[in-house]
């Protein structure tokens, strides 16, 4: 690595040195708790559309915790946060638009 890369890597390491261990254990606990809630809901015979909404909501929160804290994106520069997250979300929205005519069939077909 050239000197710039070494300096940038050292700065990233310096940022990480300031994080306490406890934060990671809290995030891990929250992720396990949300997984337990998801499994509990499976045993509750809920309406499929409602259950899907709750499960996807919890999955998005879990994804945000993993990306933000474990992958450290919360502490990166805002340019990196916005460019990476906006581009991937836009692509996923494009996929949804591709399926648009049928994407909401679940609302009237239901999941058996």
């Amino acid at each position: 690595m050239d000197t710039t890369q070494i300096a940038l890597a050292e700065r990233a390491a310096e940022q990480q040195r300031h994080h306490g261990k406890a934060l990671f254990f809290y995030v891990w606990g929250a992720l396990l708790l949300m997984t337990a809630i998801e499994v509990y809901l499976t045993y509750q015979n809920m309406q499929p559309a409602k259950m899907l909404t709750i499960l996807m909501g919890l999955s998005l929160i879990k994804a945000a915790l993993i990306i933000g804290y474990f992958m450290h994106l919360k502490y990166e520069v805002s340019r990196m946060k916005w460019l990476t997250m906006t581009s991937v979300v836009m692509c996923l929205i494009l996929m949804t638009i591709f399926f648009f005519p049928d994407a909401f069939r679940i609302l009237y077909l239901g999941v058996k």
């Binding site: 710039t4 045993y43 899907l52 993993i66």
Partner: protein
């Protein structure tokens, strides 16, 4: 504050766009593209699930418990991974290696449990035409015609979870190289032989084990061409990959398992 500090770092080149080192940006770009691969596979599974009548719901309580333990393994592996990164930035080489090995152990546990799940489904008749028939096993009554009437289930389920399992396997190998470097190659070859000899010839894992052999050859070439000691930036980049694998499972678990559960 980080943005203003960007220009403080002396360089012959223009400042880094994202204010961090190239390896990390490269990994982020790879992960973004990989998320679209998994996005497409998840869409394919969900679309098939919604639009196909008679979609099987093969995941009984035992499968849900199994998948929940697999999820716990992956979440715990993410914790041990951040602890490995933390140890590496503090210059604690022993701690770094131990946490990396713990992460690999959790990943290996996930692969073993997932392999068991696949084997049970294949034995019940939820299979792909390319998989050999399990001798002495008849398809379970409810799934006797599923591979003919709803071939989308096998194609999307094995496609999605197989792609994820491949990512986890490559992740374990990646961490093994970062933790042990050349010493990991003979371990990988032993694992390949054990996986190949211990699985019956009809199992997809019998020929799937060759992934380990291919990985051993590729790693040998890479380490021979460019031998190096991995520093904290390499551990952090490996961690990004590992957390991504965990992240993808956070969508596969509810969409594939919990939404197709059969709770009696």
């Amino acid at each position: 504050m980080a943005e203003t500090a960007l220009h403080d770092i002396p360089s012959a080149y223009e400042p880094s766009l994202f204010g961090t080192y190239s390896k990390k940006i490269g990994m982020w770009l790879f992960l973004l593209s990989d998320s679209l691969t998994f996005g497409a596979l998840l869409y394919a599974y969900s679309y098939g699930r919604i639009s196909t009548a008679g979609w099987p719901t093969p995941f009984h309580s035992e499968s849900i418990v199994n998948a929940t333990i697999m999820t716990a393994f992956l979440l715990t592996s993410s914790l041990t991974m951040v602890l490995a990164v933390r140890a590496s930035v503090h210059g604690d080489a022993k701690g770094q290696r131990l946490w990396l090995l713990a992460t690999m152990l959790c990943g290996a546990g996930f692969i073993v449990l997932h392999g068991r799940e696949w084997s049970n489904l294949i034995a019940e008749g939820l299979t792909l035409p390319m998989f050999s028939k399990v001798p002495g096993h008849e398809a379970a009554g409810e799934f006797v015609n599923v591979s003919k009437t709803v071939p989308q289930f096998g194609a999307t389920f094995f496609g999605l979870t197989g792609m994820h399992m491949l990512h986890v396997t490559l992740g374990v190998i990646y961490l093994g190289v970062v933790a042990l470097r050349r010493k990991f190659i003979p371990i990988l070859l032993v694992l390949w032989l054990v996986a190949w000899l211990a699985t019956p010839a009809y199992s997809p894992f019998h020929y799937g084990a060759h992934v380990l052999l291919i990985a051993a050859i590729v790693i040998s070439i890479i380490l021979w061409l460019k031998p190096k000691v991995y520093d904290s930036s390499d551990v952090e980049v490996a961690g990004l990959y590992w957390h991504f694998v965990d992240l993808v499972w956070m969508f596969i678990f509810p969409l594939v398992y919990l939404m197709s559960a059969k709770i009696l």
